[in-house]
């Protein structure tokens, strides 16, 4: 298929009406687009903006921990607290919304929404998603979610917001009176969650269908890059886990608004409201919530793992170490991910015998993670590493993932978790996984696929500075949190220093806050580099990195329909430095490069007969 620029055509046809008579109008092309690439970029930009919003919320939380009850600079005057204080209930809203925004509006959509959308058709050699309109809807369903999440902050005054944590445990989240100020806000939050769920579900169905049905000739399952594998398995995870959360969300919504009592036991009087009539069980929510949210941790991680595998192989100029074990490891993580939810509930009062089961399954899920780590190091080993920003972020990903993985073992061990549950150790752990791993993976992926998205390169020097500052800021902020956890500092405390055994931790918290500010400022480099490079970055060709994937055989940026000719895949995605490549005088060989001894048509036939 030849791409013809629609702009040129319309100009020659009709000068007078200008843009209105383009083949695809501006609105249709860039706003309500059904093109997976545009949707992916829409997701990317939206989530980057949300990343900044979520980060700002985190800094407000950090401010309170470092300078409790002091007026916040600049924005403090907007707060309802007298003298610009962050009042305690506002603090609970801040961390609730920080987590909600980061998880539901940043990490999940940036992986599945942005990169899933952009990469899946390109990497499997399809011209678009299986259901382009559904794809567009999945993006536009993000906006009601954003509206409800941020609306929850606005309804009922400046400091009204959902205040039950992102986990929203009942009864705090179920009774209007229990979490003051969260009356309507908690309901909004639940609606927002539902919309995110709908958006993700649409994406999932689309990804699964696309990957199963629309692969290019020759793109067998085991020739798919790990990015695609991870997106595929993530989509399956999502499809199975999400309905449970959605159901739980509706139950909670019903408890709040219709007087059902799924999670509310009888006779509870909170804030002198009428006693609950009850019959429900708060632990039910925890089971349902974590049945989704533990797999969700992998939804938030697996795609990054897949993308990093791709990028590490490319930047080390070396085949991925143990491709199939990596695939099986991802599958194993996904499978086991469904039977470990109880490790969030060791101290919750569920049947203690279950604790033992969940401990064992949780230990087991560490195994595939370990295998992956070893394989990544094996991939770099003896490679010919290019030390660019992509590689550094990937190496950062691996280094941080090791910490996040290892600190998880403490929590998997039930007796030790008795102490660490709901302390800052947990906060450190999941930030190492979600920020340290996923976001460094995302930073790498942005830099890596940016040329494909916009036809220009990002500035490598700025990207390296961004990496270095983020990495230093991140570790300085989050590594000490392990120590806070060991010292027994509970999470979600607006003023931990009321407790004598925590008083001496104030200087450390201040250090963490300064580090967090450094990390936050560093993200401006990313934004700046991103925005600048879209318009002024160095122009690049189809394959600036010398990578193997199908997407690199398409123009940068790919036109409508992606490929000049429908691609055919002849080999696996990681044949870097292979003898075949060397025969061509290069250290990479595109998946579309036909073997020298075979003409294109022959190959297609042979594939079609074997497939």
């Amino acid at each position: 298929m030849a791409t013809v620029s629609p702009a040129i055509e319309s100009h020659s046809d009709d000068h007078a009406h200008g843009h209105d008579h383009h083949e695809i109008g501006f609105i249709k092309k860039y706003v309500f687009s059904t093109d997976h690439k545009i949707i992916g970029i829409q997701f990317l930009i939206t989530t980057l903006i949300m990343l900044m919003a979520g980060g700002a919320l985190a800094l407000a939380v950090r401010w309170q921990l470092a300078f409790p009850w002091q007026t916040m600079p600049i924005v403090g005057k907007l707060f309802a607290g007298e003298g610009g204080q962050i009042s305690p209930e506002f603090y609970t809203m801040l961390f609730t919304m920080h987590a909600s925004v980061m998880i539901f509006l940043v990490i999940i959509p940036i992986l599945a929404g942005a990169f899933g959308n952009f990469l899946i058709p390109l990497q499997i050699g399809a011209d678009d998603m299986a259901f382009p309109a559904l794809n567009m809807l999945s993006y536009w369903f993000m906006w009601p979610a954003i509206f409800f999440f941020f609306g929850s902050f606005v309804v009922g005054g400046v400091t009204a917001g959902p205040a039950a944590g992102w986990t929203s445990y009942p009864l705090l989240s179920a009774l209007m009176a229990a979490a003051p100020g969260s009356g309507t806000a908690q309901t909004y939050w639940l609606l927002g969650l539902t919309f995110v769920g709908v958006s993700s579900m649409m994406g999932s169905i689309n990804y699964m269908t696309t990957i199963i049905n629309m692969r290019a000739p020759g793109m067998t399952l085991f020739r798919m890059p790990l990015t695609i594998w991870s997106m595929f398995i993530t989509a399956i995870l999502q499809a199975f886990a999400l309905p449970v959360l959605t159901a739980a969300g509706f139950m909670l919504l019903a408890d709040r608004t219709m007087g059902t009592c799924f999670f509310i036991p009888a006779g509870i009087i909170v804030n002198n409201a009428a006693p609950t009539v009850g019959g429900g069980q708060p632990l039910l929510w925890q089971h349902l919530f974590w049945f989704y949210s533990h797999p969700a941790v992998y939804i938030m991680l697996l795609p990054a793992m897949g993308m990093v595998s791709d990028m590490l192989a490319c930047m080390s100029r070396k085949p991925l170490f143990g491709y199939k074990p990596m695939v099986y490891a991802i599958a194993a993580i996904a499978g086991l991910g469904f039977i470990v939810w109880g490790h969030h509930m060791f101290t919750s009062g569920m049947n203690p015998a279950l604790g033992m089961t969940f401990m064992t399954s949780t230990m087991m899920i560490a195994l595939p993670s370990a295998i992956k780590t070893f394989n990544w190091i094996g991939t770099i080993w003896d490679g010919n590493v290019r030390f660019n920003a992509v590689m550094l972020n990937c190496a950062g990903f691996v280094a941080m993932f090791i910490v996040g993985g290892l600190s998880g073992i403490f929590m998997a061990a039930v007796p030790v978790d008795i102490y660490f549950h709901d302390t800052y150790f947990i906060v450190a752990h999941f930030h190492y996984v979600l920020f340290g791993s996923t976001l460094f993976g995302v930073f790498a992926a942005i830099t890596f696929w940016f040329p494909k998205m916009f036809g220009r390169m990002m500035n490598d020097t700025v990207a390296k500075w961004h990496f270095a500052l983020s990495f230093i800021g991140f570790n300085a902020a989050f590594f000490p949190m392990h120590l806070l956890g060991i010292a027994g500092m509970p999470r979600r405390y607006a003023d931990p220093y009321l407790h004598p055994y925590l008083e001496h931790l104030l200087p450390m918290n201040q250090f963490i806050t300064f580090s967090a500010i450094l990390m936050g400022v560093a993200q401006l480099l990313l934004l700046g580099n991103f925005a600048y490079s879209i318009f002024f970055g160095e122009k690049c060709g189809r394959n600036p990195w010398g990578a193997n994937g199908l997407e690199w055989s398409a123009p940068s940026p790919p036109g409508h329909g992606n490929f000049d000719v429908p691609p055919v895949c002849y080999r696996g995605p990681y044949e870097y430095s292979s003898p075949e490549a060397e025969a061509l005088g290069q250290d990479f060989i595109l998946q579309t490069e036909p073997p020298p001894d075979m003409t294109t048509t022959e190959n297609v036939k042979s594939i079609e007969t074997t497939a």
Partner: protein, 502 residues
């Protein structure tokens, strides 16, 4: 100590405490808010009049208040009030040079403290001057951080209109670490209390809007759960007890072990300070509001008076009448708050608690239902806090208008649910004496009236009955009986007997 201070500083109404910024829990730019009544005054009544020619400045309501109480960053200690502001008074023994003072104190002085000690001259030529002490020896020889002459010169330069100060002489009264307690209490209050009770103690902190019942607004000077009689204010011990034990059934938690004894004392004093500030503000506003509120101004303008007339009247009022009013208001304030801490104010039963027998409870229940006492009118026949009075529309006693919502309203205009006695939660404390005092003095500010007309034995019977309600197997089985006086005793017997067997 305070008495002595009062005597010495008759000329000096207000001793200003220099309060440092920072410290734990300080909201840096917090300020006291003026009450609605003050804000309803016409602007001139709020602001007063500046110096005009040879006419002295006339302070308005805001300045009258601020002069005496200051703001959270710089509190003023009005020594007339019975508050332990902190500090130790003493006298100057000798002044060897302008950087050294030899002092003598009435009590122990903290020689070593975290922050530099501040010394204020109360009487004599240097009255109101504050100096900082670098080092205080055990023999109370103080080395000053600055030169006295320079300090006094600076003071005189800054306060041109006032009588110039000069070097102090032996025998002058001083106060060291003045306001230390109040300042400490302020810091603690801002950290622990203000997000509900508000910086000004108006019960309107950021968290307050979500709470049922609302946090106490101290500015009426009225506190609900006291050990004092119905006409007295709250005692220090009462506030202390509430901070110590919390108020079950509300969001007021216990602050032990978070605040130690010394800290709780400081918070108690600061709460009393805020209460007195609020009460003073109210009373000043009341003095002015009949003629000089925005509303009064409006009606006078309608009646044909010119604005200038009203302003002239206000000038006269502030210049002449206000002086008397101020004296009356402040005397009244001081004496009432002082009395509350005396033993006379505390309600002490004449007789020990009557033995908690079924018979006593039966009598108690009879009294509970009787026409004269009629606890059931509010608390309900079954004690569930749902008596017929809870559904009526009440008149606001101040404005005379009907409230929008049915139910019993307190002086803070909030609807009060009468206590549900079946829950076994007693906000003012669960000791028999606490219940006795609740019945004897009523709950101040609420619609629970004083029953001091009852004999103490009768009150004990009611206490015994009330304490037994949560354990009745069938609470309120007599409900629905229109005049249960005859029907009740037998039934109560059965209930009481049952709970005793248990």
């Amino acid at each position: 100590m305070l008495v002595q201070m009062n005597r010495h500083i008759a000329t000096l109404i207000v001793a200003t405490l220099v309060v440092s910024m920072g410290g734990c829990g300080d909201a840096l730019n917090s300020s006291f808010v003026y009450s609605e009544q003050t804000q309803a005054l016409m602007p001139q009544a709020q602001k007063g009049f500046p110096v005009k020619g040879d006419v002295k400045a006339l302070p308005g309501a805001r300045q009258l208040l601020d002069d005496r109480f200051g703001n959270p960053q710089s509190l003023n200690a009005w020594s007339k009030l019975p508050i332990d502001f902190g500090g130790v008074t003493g006298t100057v023994v000798a002044i060897p040079d302008t950087k050294t003072l030899i002092l003598n104190f009435d009590a122990e002085v903290p020689v070593q403290t975290d922050e530099p000690l501040k010394l204020q001259f109360v009487t004599g030529p240097a009255a109101a001057i504050v100096v900082q002490i670098d080092k205080l020896s055990e023999a109370w020889t103080a080395s000053l951080s600055g030169n006295l002459e320079t300090l006094i010169k600076a003071h005189n330069d800054n306060n041109q209109g006032e009588e110039p100060r000069s070097i102090p002489v032996a025998g002058d009264v001083v106060v060291i670490d003045g306001g230390g307690v109040l300042q400490h209490g302020r810091g603690l209050y801002m950290r622990h209390c203000s997000h509900c009770h508000g910086t000004s103690g108006d019960g309107n902190g950021p968290t307050a809007q979500y709470l049922v019942p609302r946090p106490r607004d101290y500015r009426h000077g009225v506190f609900k759960f006291t050990s004092t009689n119905d006409l007295s204010k709250v005692s220090r011990d009462d506030i202390h007890r509430v901070i110590t034990n919390g108020i079950p059934g509300t969001y007021m938690p216990s602050f032990v072990p978070m605040l130690n004894e010394q800290n709780r004392h400081a918070v108690v004093e600061y709460v009393r300070f805020l209460a007195m500030r609020g009460e003073f503000e109210r009373k000043i506003a009341v003095e002015l509001s009949s003629d000089f509120s925005k509303e009064a101004l409006g009606s006078r303008l309608e009646a044909g008076d010119s604005k200038e007339d009203v302003i002239d009247n206000l000038r006269d009022f502030l210049a002449v009448d206000m002086t008397d009013s101020l004296e009356f208001v402040s005397d009244d304030l001081a004496s009432k708050w002082t009395t509350a801490d005396t033993d006379d104010a505390v309600i002490t039963p004449d007789v020990s608690r009557i033995a908690d027998t079924p018979e006593s409870r039966r009598i108690g229940r009879e009294l509970y239902l009787s026409k004269a006492i009629n606890c059931a009118a509010c608390h309900g026949i079954a004690g569930k806090g749902n008596g017929p009075q809870t559904t009526i529309y009440e008149k606001n006693t101040v404005t005379g208008e009907l409230y929008d919502t049915p139910g019993l309203h307190d002086v803070w205009d909030n609807v009060n649910q009468p206590r549900n006695l079946t829950r076994g939660i007693y906000r003012g404390g669960r000791r028999p004496v606490d219940l006795f005092r609740r019945i004897h003095a009523g709950i101040k500010g609420s619609r629970m009236p004083s029953f001091k007309i009852l004999q103490h034995e009768q009150i004990w019977h009611i206490v015994n009955y009330v304490l037994s309600i949560p354990f009745e197997p069938m609470p309120g089985h007599a409900s629905g009986v229109a005049a249960p006086a005859e029907a009740t005793p037998a039934a109560t017997d059965a209930a009481a007997a049952a709970s005793v067997v248990e």
